[in-house]
């Protein structure tokens, strides 16, 4: 009996020939990630562990200032400083301060810190993003992260795997985000709890690295422990451009055992929208747009859709046009590198010229932290990953989740709009 991709990686990192779902293992980690919020709590825990003066390996920890930075207030500044002081004290090689990084999950792959076959744990639930590269990556809380800082190991329960098979071609203006929203709608927000999601099929073979990132990022929205793609020539080329370290490309066995196989037909898929207040409340754009849903804010960015490829799509739609009146459009390039690339390509000027505000890279708006918080009775359409009550600010606000193209089309009309219809109308 063979093993799934997740089982292969977990077996190798726990020094075993094979592992099975439900088994508890101790696994060596290749990288431990934290941001200033999860690090602040983790550092406090680590200080309380007797005999734990140093991290296990200062080159295998990444600390990224991204949630409440540039500091929203004195309290946020305190947390940012706490992590920075710790990074200096522990000689952390991969510390990314404001202006040198951006959103953690955008930064780490860019910097060559993620490679196929690796095992990464992070103090952020969207750590599962790195599954895009054929790595096992999962989010944990701060106490687990403190233990990983010190031991370089974590205990894990081997998850059973759900195989998702996507067949067909993405239609015009239909993107990886639409695929993943459809998937979360199909599985439900607890449909993959305690499970690994393994992405397969001709559709995902054709996806760009960014598209795979978007999909792996939202595995947690179905409750999954991790979401993983097989590394292919595209993955290897991306990684080799950024790092010279060795890595092992693993693959699921042909006779691997899956708990479930779900097939999704892509050919007829239209753009999708997750309506308030759960990421699995997913409907096709034609249904949602028919209700004439006005919005107060459009947000473009995040670890789901804050990449250069996403900004190019948005700029193409907004080029030479103006956003609707009585609307604000906030764009956060995902990292300093994405910001600079967008600047070089003229994208930032295009977006600002259309009436968008371009913010500094960061997580603030997505989780209702700062720089784009919604007020009572406001409604937003956003490229982010969650729309729970109060997620982007007021518990009396509403958040709709969609692709960058759908958000850009909605920016031009001020209501939730099918980008294909807008294009036909020549707006």
């Amino acid at each position: 009996m063979g093993m799934t991709l997740t089982e292969k990686i977990l077996a190798r990192h726990s020094g075993q020939d094979r592992v099975e779902p439900g088994q508890i293992i101790n696994a060596k980690v290749d990288l431990v990630l934290a941001n200033e919020l999860s690090a602040a709590v983790a550092i406090g825990v680590m200080r309380g562990i007797k005999g734990a003066d140093r991290v296990f390996d200062s080159s295998r920890i990444a600390l990224v200032e991204d949630h409440f930075v540039p500091a929203k207030d004195a309290q946020s500044a305190k947390l940012a400083k706490l992590m920075k002081d710790f990074a200096i004290e522990q000689n952390i090689e991969h510390f990314f301060d404001v202006g040198r990084g951006g959103i953690e999950h955008v930064v780490l792959p860019e910097e060559g810190l993620i490679a196929p076959g690796e095992l990464i744990v992070g103090g952020d639930s969207h750590t599962c993003t790195y599954g895009a590269f054929g790595a096992f990556a999962t989010g944990m809380g701060s106490t687990d992260i403190a233990a990983a800082f010190v031991l370089g190991e974590v205990w894990l329960k081997v998850p059973g795997s759900i195989k998702l098979v996507y067949n067909g071609n993405l239609g015009h203006m239909v993107y990886a985000k639409d695929l993943m929203l459809r998937t979360v709608g199909e599985l439900g927000i607890d449909g993959a709890t305690y499970r690994a999601i393994e992405y397969h099929g001709t559709t995902v073979d054709e996806l760009s690295i960014t598209g795979r990132i978007t999909m792996a990022n939202m595995a947690i929205e179905a409750g999954a422990k991790n979401g993983i793609f097989h590394a292919d020539a595209k993955t290897i080329a991306y990684v080799k451009e950024r790092t010279s370290r060795n890595f092992v490309v693993e693959g699921a066995d042909a006779d691997a055992v899956y708990e479930r196989v779900v097939t999704i037909d892509v050919d007829s898929l239209e753009p999708q929208v997750a309506c308030p207040h759960t990421p699995d409340n997913v409907h096709p754009i034609s249904e949602v747009a028919a209700d004439n849903v006005n919005v107060d804010q459009v947000f473009i960015g995040s670890c789901t859709n804050g990449y250069i490829e996403d900004l190019r799509v948005v700029a193409k739609i907004l080029e030479g046009k103006k956003i609707a009146s009585n609307l604000r459009v906030i764009v956060n390039p995902g990292s300093q590198k994405v910001w600079m690339q967008a600047a070089q390509e003229g994208i930032l000027t295009t977006l600002a010229g259309a009436g968008c505000v371009v913010n500094t890279p960061g997580c603030g708006a997505c989780f209702g932290g700062h720089m784009g918080t919604l007020g009572d009775g406001e409604r937003a359409i956003s490229t982010t990953n969650r729309n729970y009550v109060g997620r982007m600010g007021s518990p009396k606000a509403e958040v709709f989740l969609a692709s960058p193209a759908t958000c850009a089309a909605s920016a031009l009309t001020g209501k939730i709009t099918d980008p294909r219809v807008l294009e036909l109308a020549g707006v």
């Binding site: 508890i24 709590v41 734990a52 309290q75 809380g141 031991l151 607890d190 709890t193 600010g393």
Partner: protein
Amino acid sequence: MEDSMRGKAHKYGKNVDTDVIIPGKYCNIIDPVELGKHALEGLDPEYTAKMKTGDIIVADTNFGCGSSREVAPIAIKGSGTSAVIAKSFARIFYRNALNIGLPIFESEAAVDGIANGDEIEVRPATGTIVNHTKGEQYQAAEFPPFMRSLIDAGGLVPYVEKRLAQAKG
């Protein structure tokens, strides 16, 4: 952890997510008592005003879904809530609750049997849940052996200390 805790049940639905347990804007707070003042604010702004120390949250499936923020169980504990009973828990919340010492109980029968306001007693060592209002008793799912050993050892921190001591010989 105390042998038993007793308080009133505050009953909620399914998918109580971390954004309503502790809204993002409070995630720059570390102090448990300060966090506790905002526990469940996104779901029930009256919760901290109406609850008394020792009270118990009772919820349906997938409690704690969403973010990995450890301040979610810390806020619940910091509010004086003694335990959470749910039909099921989201994965990261489950680990976090165990790691910070917030007692959690998984039991469909308890959630179905308990009404809002019932007087409930829970015993973490045995997983026993007693409904004093209705005169019923329920049994929570047992923790897997590895997690039981972590809990019995006093949590993850003593476990890490033991591992470090072993490594240093």
